[in-house]
Symmetry: C7
Subunit: 91 residues, 7 copies
Amino acid sequence: MRLKPLGDRIIVKPVTEEEITKSGIIIPDTVEKEKKEEGEVMAIGDGEKIQKLNLKKGDKVIFGKYSGEEVTVDEVEYKVLKDEDVLAKIE
Amino acid sequence: MRLKPLGDRIIVKPVTEEEITKSGIIIPDTVEKEKKEEGEVMAIGDGEKIQKLNLKKGDKVIFGKYSGEEVTVDEVEYKVLKDEDVLAKIE
Amino acid sequence: MRLKPLGDRIIVKPVTEEEITKSGIIIPDTVEKEKKEEGEVMAIGDGEKIQKLNLKKGDKVIFGKYSGEEVTVDEVEYKVLKDEDVLAKIE
Amino acid sequence: MRLKPLGDRIIVKPVTEEEITKSGIIIPDTVEKEKKEEGEVMAIGDGEKIQKLNLKKGDKVIFGKYSGEEVTVDEVEYKVLKDEDVLAKIE
Amino acid sequence: MRLKPLGDRIIVKPVTEEEITKSGIIIPDTVEKEKKEEGEVMAIGDGEKIQKLNLKKGDKVIFGKYSGEEVTVDEVEYKVLKDEDVLAKIE
Amino acid sequence: MRLKPLGDRIIVKPVTEEEITKSGIIIPDTVEKEKKEEGEVMAIGDGEKIQKLNLKKGDKVIFGKYSGEEVTVDEVEYKVLKDEDVLAKIE
Amino acid sequence: MRLKPLGDRIIVKPVTEEEITKSGIIIPDTVEKEKKEEGEVMAIGDGEKIQKLNLKKGDKVIFGKYSGEEVTVDEVEYKVLKDEDVLAKIE
């Protein structure tokens, strides 16, 4: 990973829908809600709030599809999220 | 449960309306209010604010129907709520 | 009471208008204000802010009619209020 | 007084306009401002912020006419104000 | 002065425009700004924030014309301002 | 300087456009941004936040053209700015 | 660099698109997001929050294209950003 998130930010690589279905976790689109999305943690900032979440590289997390900022590095798409954008860890 | 809520979040499994009626608790739809809903606590984040509520797995709680985020795991629907979304515990 | 309010919440049972008039306290509807309502305290959360108000079960309080959340338990209607929704105690 | 204000609230009894004129204090209605009103302090909550103002029962204070909440006890009208609604003490 | 400002409030007596011009300070009306006004400090509350400004009775200060609250005592008009309404002291 | 800024305020004397161009600093008007302006520091309040910026009388600073409040003293125009209105110091 | 950013501000020199493409980092324009931009850190304020990000002169960072304020010094365009405008460091 060539991007280092700053402060309370985290970088995730969104997982494709096929992979999500295979894992048994379905994150449906509902009319009144934003879409949820699954992603793999790639890098974690050293802000106090993001560190408190005790996430590590490789963790699978759920976040709002429209949360955070999209960035493309070496033709791969990533998301830069804040601590409050990450809803839950998948175990 | 395969989802671990992060920070001050909690995961509940909403209870069906038939179950609610049987328990003697009725949570009516009023025009000027959001709908209330009953649910069972499945997992609790380790944030300070959610821990202060002294809830544990299996507790029945009341929350606003449109509070929080819906996620489906292994075809079961759950809600990811924040500490302030939970109104009361049913005893 | 089968509902335990969480954090800085309190559960009150609104008093009917006849009872209020009898007690000598009249809470009029004014055009520019929300309606006020009288209620009896049923249960108190253990949040710091609600505990500071030194209320106890049975106390009569005044709150805004449209404050808080309505919940029906065993066919009786209650209100779940936050500490700042309670205006005064009737002595 | 049968109403005990909670937290940082105070209860005042508004003074009639004749009494105000007699005291030499005139609180005019201006177009761009809310009306000001004079009142007598009836009871003071024990919140930290209201206690800091060092007011006592009987003090005359000035507040915005549309500040606070009107309540009628034994056919007398009172106002429940917050600490920041009280502008000045008349000496 | 018969008015005691509460908390972080201060009472000033606005200076007439003739006096301002004479003192060499002109506070013009600009289209995109609120009018500024000069006034003399009459009384200072004992709030922490207003005390930090180190103002004393008799000081000349500049404030926004529409800041604060107008009150008339013994037929003289005063303004009740908050600490953040006072821009500068004239020396 | 006859004006003493209060708290976290600072007084600057805006520099004319000719002077700015001569100094090699050009602060262009862009459509999507507010205009920037250069000014000379005339006086600094003793608030904690403004003192932390380590500015002194005579420093040249850049600020948003529409930030702060205009005041005219002895026919010279000044600006009263808050600490957060000052973007950078020119060295 | 003749501009010293104040407090929690940082000055960056935006990198041209050709340079970005060469470095393998592509920051696409998406419809629902603000444009991202890459830049080189020129100077860092001494505010606590910006210092915590551990950036140094010469670092490459990613920020929102419409974040911050544009300033032109000696005919070169710079951006004055706040700590929260900087998303990630490129390594």
